[in-house]
Symmetry: C2
Subunit: 348 residues, 2 copies
């Protein structure tokens, strides 16, 4: 029997998601928003309940040669909490499913769950369920998170309108450079196990890669200052990719300025040392877990003194003109070159 | 550096869950019930929101040599919907995360999601999110389901009291015998690929293994007849294991009668053909996804004419006396010998 065979790599992850989701429509009244944002939205009386899920696979998303299990546990919770923050919500519960081989000891599982517990304590999230099973090879962690937001406070990717200001928290590209440092040190160690990794200088970058934090305090700051973003997303695949998600969902164009994109000094210097362009790392590196959002111009005054929120550009009405103005004043089209696990090597 | 190492197989799955969960306590008011039932319970206005999750791993939970991807998709939804039914709730949303290698084509993923969609349509559940990623080896499916129940209608594993009647739906052991048939046919085929599998005679058993159904209609039937079970659980690990969960959570003892345990004629005959004891298959086979529940004696009249609900025993006040009365009248202690993925071969 001959059947046609198409490769997943031809579609890419977003193409695959589009292909899957086009066959599904929502039929329950309680399903307010399905596939296509940082979290799904479910009716829950006065509030909306938010739900999101992430799967982390050994050898694809993490390498236990440099990722301690405690950090892995912490990170796997943080990235889920970040998805809830990106809806302007607060995470409340998680379920954790793990599949693992008998290569892992009980002590290893203890370490993983110590990290999960540290994140639960930090983000005030309850572990309410999960599944534990064995696997044929390696470790797989699947976490689902539920969160809550008042109905009139939910923020989607789709609400940005012309003249809105584009904001991003923290700094970008550090987690990506942290990964480059870890990969290099692993190679050095593998070539000569007597070499001790020299990570002290890169501590900030490595910590951004190994133990990222969800920017939950930003959600409280926005609430306190009376600002509801018009659109929001978290930066997991890279700034450029996320900007284009907002563009696609909002139907408005975006213009950002290279000299406004926040890049930490160490990220910048390390990128140069690695012969990488710092702005490319910031645009496409991913795993920053910062919040990217747009606000109405009238709200700008309320946020402009916030030490960790940076305006990097604005929305306009030409949705096919999505560009960055470089430091030299040239106009560079924004392109998503985020992580794509279905093509080439995802970790480098 | 020397560290002590303990093997997961020494703990078993339930021991591992106990070890993990004892370190976690609930801190959010919205977290009504955490680990330890078929689903977690979250406050949602007038209702409770239920959430449960299951992970299915290739080579552990399924073998693609005999499990068509469409059936796998269907089954992975059905087993989650069953967990919501076991709380007396109705499933409404699912998220589906998959990790897979490039051995899988786009057409294979289409087949998987066709099965998922068929189950969503059948159970009136919306696919609202998920994650797709690559894996180093094999296919992993992680599904989370959300459901809903009126606050006064939620049923836990913990409410059974002395003199309650123990009921189970459908029949037991068929899915286990279906697996035995499939494993045997696979061995025959591997020994001689010209042999065609002869599955027609075993169709009912094979369909119970490959395409189990959640007993959602039982939840409607109970509602219609005005019966709220005092405790409930779904039969995933085997009747004996589930009975002991009710005992442990309710603090009451259980007594069942072998001649009341529903076993289909084909299950019985095939067990004999395989030199297996039919009642052992029913007690320990698992994957039946029937509902096991207890009712107050006063509700017995309302259910006794239901064609698919069978009373198999009763609760009593001696919580350490959990027994089956055999057809010969002997008293056999109930022991959980359900699936344990962390010891020996889980598929046989």
């Amino acid at each position: 029997m001959s059947e046609s065979r198409s490769e997943i790599s031809q579609l890419g992850e977003f193409g695959l998601i589009d292909r899957i989701s086009k066959n599904f429509t929502l039929q329950n009244r309680s399903s307010v928003k399905g596939i296509g944002d940082d979290a799904a939205v479910i009716d829950a009386g006065d509030d909306y309940l938010l739900i999101s899920t992430d799967m982390l696979v050994e050898g694809i998303h993490f390498d236990l040669a440099y990722m301690p299990l405690q950090h892995l546990g912490y990170k796997s919770v943080a990235v889920n909490v970040s998805d809830i923050a990106a809806m302007n919500g607060k995470a409340e519960q998680i379920t954790v499913s793990i599949a693992l081989t008998n290569r892992f000891s009980v002590e290893a599982i203890d370490a993983l769950y110590q990290g999960i517990k540290a994140a639960c304590d930090n983000y005030k999230v309850d572990l309410v369920g999960g599944d534990t099973t064995s696997s044929v090879s390696g470790l797989v962690i699947s976490i689902s998170v539920t969160g809550r937001v008042k109905k009139d406070q939910v923020v989607y990717r789709s609400g940005a309108k012309p003249n809105d200001i584009v904001c991003v928290t923290g700094d970008l590209g550090a987690a990506f450079m942290g990964l480059q440092v870890l990969v290099r040190e692993k190679e050095v160690y593998e070539a000569d196990p007597s070499m001790q990794p020299d990570l002290e200088k890169f501590e900030y970058l490595v910590s951004r890669q190994l133990k990222p934090e969800a920017r939950t305090e930003i959600i409280y700051d926005l609430e306190e200052r009376g600002v509801k973003p018009t659109s929001m997303i978290d930066v997991s695949d890279g700034l450029a990719s996320e900007l284009l998600h907002i563009v696609k969902n909002s139907g408005a164009g975006i213009r950002i300025f290279e000299d406004k994109v926040p890049i930490d000094q160490l990220t910048f210097e390390t990128a140069i040392e690695f012969k990488l362009d710092p702005i490319t790392c910031a645009l496409n590196g991913g795993e920053d877990y910062e919040l990217l959002f747009t606000i109405d111009q009238n709200d700008y005054e309320k946020l402009k003194n916030h030490p960790d929120i940076h305006s990097i550009g604005y929305m306009h009405d030409k949705k096919d003109q999505n560009v960055m103005i470089s430091k030299q004043g040239t106009v560079v089209p924004l392109r998503a070159q985020g992580w794509n696990h279905f093509t080439s090597n995802p970790q480098t």
